[in-house]
Point group: C2
Chain length 138, copies 2
């Protein structure tokens, strides 16, 4: 759906050099209709499928963290096993299926007005995340 040019310009607009590795990663992550939730491991596997030209694992970590820093990806805190990332950078929450390790998006609309009444003096709120853990019945 999106051509290389689109991602090259996107990367430039983020202040990141459009290397061929980054463009390939963008196509896997962002050239799709739906939100994509992934781990580095899953990303690595998808890239292997798409092309036989290897991208170093270090580059995957570097790139994903660069994208996160630029606000092009979000990181989701689920557990201490591994990090999950999310192409949906809007303010939203998740179902985490503990049986399959899959994430499903929720939005503010899926909750009654969530309003934090407390604040911490001298502290700035960086994020508010809701995570609903689910498991398959039996």
């Amino acid at each position: 759906m999106r051509d290389n040019y689109y991602f090259i310009e996107k990367l430039r607009s983020l202040g990141l050099r459009p290397t061929k590795q980054r463009v390939r990663i963008c196509k896997v992550l962002f050239d799709r209709n739906d939100t994509f939730h992934f781990t580095i491991y899953e990303l690595a596997n998808l890239l292997k499928l798409k092309s036989k030209e290897k991208i170093s694992l270090a580059t995957l970590y570097n790139t994903v963290h660069a994208f996160k820093k630029k606000g092009y990806l979000k990181e989701i805190s689920i557990n201490s096993d591994k990090s999950y990332f999310d192409t949906n950078i809007s303010d939203h929450h998740h179902f985490f299926n503990e049986s399959t390790n899959e994430l499903i998006d929720l939005t503010d609309k899926d909750f009654d007005n969530i309003k934090l009444k407390k604040s911490l003096p001298g502290k700035k709120i960086k994020s508010l995340e809701i995570l609903v853990k689910v498991a398959n019945n039996n």
Copy 2:
């Protein structure tokens, strides 16, 4: 405040043998007035301070996981760096101070009625956690 006997009976009531390692761990974790949020690393350091008789790291992991399984501890999902545990097993949420890596309790009272409107067919909700990440100003 609590003597060994209290924890010995508590352990028995959980179906866990009251070994001297477990009792010592209980005193560090539960013999206090306030909720205690900790990592295994912090627990290990506290135990070193209390006594020179070493408890194996494997025992700390075993014990903390056994306590969690019995509902005597909760695990808090913060990030993929390490696991956090919580002696407050009631339904509550957290401020996580990213500057100091400290957890502070919040309760339902600190939010307007949080109500999840969606459900997942065929899935059972295991938990709903809210984590508010904060950082020190500047």
